[in-house]
Amino acid sequence: MSLIVLEDVSKLYGFGGATTIALEEVSLSVEPGEFVAIMGPSGSGKSTLLHIVGLLDRPTNGLYKLNGKSVERLRHNQRTRARRKQIGFVFQSFNLINNLTVLENVALPMAYRGFTRGRRLKQASAILDRVGLAEREYFFPRHLSGGEAQRVAIARALINNPDIIIADEPTGNLDSGSSRLVMELLRELNKGGTTVLLVTHNPELTRYANRVVFMRDGTIVNDEKTAFGNIPLNAQALFFRPKKTAEDDIIGVSALMKALPTKPSIRKASKAKKAKPKKFKASGRTKAKK
């Protein structure tokens, strides 16, 4: 049974002439244990998708089943309970609470579940040990490096032993060394059976995923499975594209989008670099595999 099933999910903001379509009939199904990287330019709907999957937001239309249960009609508190039990969040800017210690930050989700202080601090301590920050328990977030803060955020996401980790650009504010540590930690969790949904602008990070979803203008334009350790073909198309203009120097999803098969020039460039993308099956917008 799929862990996450989205069927024709749309999300609209505003009303009348000012309506913005954030998601347009997106369908996506994620199996337990998958590591899904979601890529796309700014405004493509990645974060909206994550918020809906993470039960922080409701779709305007469509069906969402989490663990086989339809959740889009759940009341607020039922959604909160489902969220704290099944989903852990990791944000780009860490979002640790500044006046709580590292230990208290990690223990916070357990506090909302009603565990005693002793039990939650013990559990938090064990999780911090797991992410290699046992010595930072009584530090405050302002005393941590970016990489450490993000590992604390991951520990916080893990404390309720969730089925899904939702990571919204977790390495966006980190240097390459810290990024690698954080990604390897996520990969370790995934190996342990936790499903990871990762939003990133960095194609290099798709090496850690076994599935890469490309989004544009609120729809999924490509959904590609890949072996761990490999950059998927579309990303390769960008990576090994010869630099021609200043715009081409931007290594990011905006440039990657140009590599999609609808753009003949990029296809030529891809051939020139002999990247040999074998399965550019998407032609225009495609629906995700179910």
Binding site: R83, P109, N160
Partner: protein
């Protein structure tokens, strides 16, 4: 979770000390004024009760002027202090009348003698001089501690008895027996010193610790036989006859004064009622000021909590994302507001404790802070925090998690 919220609330208060203090100021002032005034009131009541206990519940006081109006339904209808400021006084015939009223055991005049007290040319202005009779100690249930009061039929014309404060302040010693002083060029010798009298403000009974007593007949001759009696004390034969005797005294005086109600006959319970009346008016006034102060303080708390909710929007988003329900967020902010207000209340109570110590040290008042007052003050401040913190807390609880997480 509750202890966690308490800890968080205290951390928030500490994080912005000055802001928290200024926010709490309204509550501090409100609680401080209420607790201080009520404690002064309680202290005064206690002092009057002690004084009544000492003087005896059967003491009847006759004062010049119409000080109070009574109504059949209550002990006291109206209190006026203006007659006491007037020139009206009682005279010798009033004293005789009171003393001869059936049921009256003893009547004692209290006559003020004007004039400066001096020792070797140095003036002393803090003492009042009262001319009275030898029955004074028995009527106030207080014997002279050192020496003796003037005795009937054996009165030395230059004899004087002093209160304890006079002994210490005028003569700089505790037992100045045999020491002399002058009033209007007449020399008196101290023959006795009273022990400490229980005193009370807001009571028609004078502070006898600051009094020099001289024999009544000497006082009469010093004032050219035009004695101004400012007070007559009387005691009935039996305690349970007090009210009837007071009423009889009143009737007889009214008749003697040609129906003019230009005097007041008071029982001790009415003395207490007079003080209570004054204190209740004062307490009501201060309570109104304190209520305004608490409302202003509450609005301050509401304002600062709204700012706090705005500043911590992202934190609210994170808390919701990690599993905080609306109710849990609401509770957290309510506890914060309540803590802010309660801390203000506690500071207010501590300040009133300090103020009471200072008042006790520098005045004759003896303010008493009781546990019910403290609990009431803290309860009200807690309630103010919860009431005024409710709106910001609801606002925090209803924040959309996605918008909150996007908030910079």
């Amino acid at each position: 979770m509750f202890s966690n919220n308490m800890k968080l609330a205290m951390q928030s208060l500490k994080a912005a000390k000055w802001r928290s203090f200024l926010t709490m100021l309204g509550v501090i002032i409100g609680v401080f004024s209420v607790v201080s005034i009520v404690s002064i009131g309680v202290g005064i009541r206690q002092q009057i009760t002690n004084q009544i206990k000492q003087l005896g519940a059967d003491l009847i006081t006759v004062l010049p002027g119409e000080n109070i109006s009574t109504s059949p339904s209550s002990l006291l209808k109206q209190v006026s202090i203006l007659p006491q400021l007037g020139t009206g006084s009682l005279n010798q015939s009033d004293l005789t009348l009171v003393g001869s009223t059936p049921g009256v055991n003893v009547a004692v005049p209290m006559s003020t003698i004007t004039g400066t007290v001096s020792i070797d040319g140095n003036n002393y202005n803090n003492a009042q001089v009262i001319a009275t009779t030898s029955d004074f100690p028995s009527i106030v249930n207080k014997n002279v501690q050192y020496g003796q009061f003037f005795q009937n039929g054996d009165i030395d014309p230059n004899e004087a008895i002093v209160g304890q404060n006079v002994a210490i302040q005028l003569f700089k010693e505790n037992i100045p027996i045999g020491k002399s002083f002058q009033i209007r060029d007449r020399t008196f010798t101290v023959e006795g010193v009273f022990g400490q009298f229980n005193t009370s403000p807001l009571s028609p009974i004078s502070d006898y610790n600051n009094t020099i007593f001289i024999p009544y007949n000497i006082g009469q001759s010093m004032s050219g036989n035009q004695t101004q009696i400012y007070e007559i004390f009387a005691k009935p034969n039996h305690v349970d006859q007090t009210s009837q005797v007071a009423s009889a005294v009143n009737t007889r005086l009214l008749k003697a004064h040609g129906g003019q109600n230009n005097f007041t006959v008071l029982e001790q319970k009415q003395n207490l009622a007079i003080a209570n009346n004054t204190l209740n008016t004062l307490t009501a006034l201060i309570a109104a000021v304190a209520a305004v102060s608490l409302v202003v303080g509450g609005i301050g708390i509401m304002n600062i909590m709204l700012v706090s909710v705005m500043e911590r929007t992202r934190e609210i988003g994170v808390r919701k994302a990690v599993g905080g329900t609306n109710r849990q967020i609401l509770t957290q902010f309510l506890i914060e507001a309540a803590m802010l207000s309660l801390t203000g209340g506690i500071i207010g109570v501590i300040l009133s404790l300090l103020a009471d110590i200072i008042i006790r040290y520098y005045t004759t008042l003896q303010p008493t802070i009781t546990l019910p007052i403290v609990l009431l003050a803290l309860g009200i401040s807690l309630l103010a925090g919860v009431l005024f913190g409710a709106m910001p807390a609801f606002k925090a609880a209803r924040k959309d998690p996605v918008d909150s997480l996007r908030h910079e």
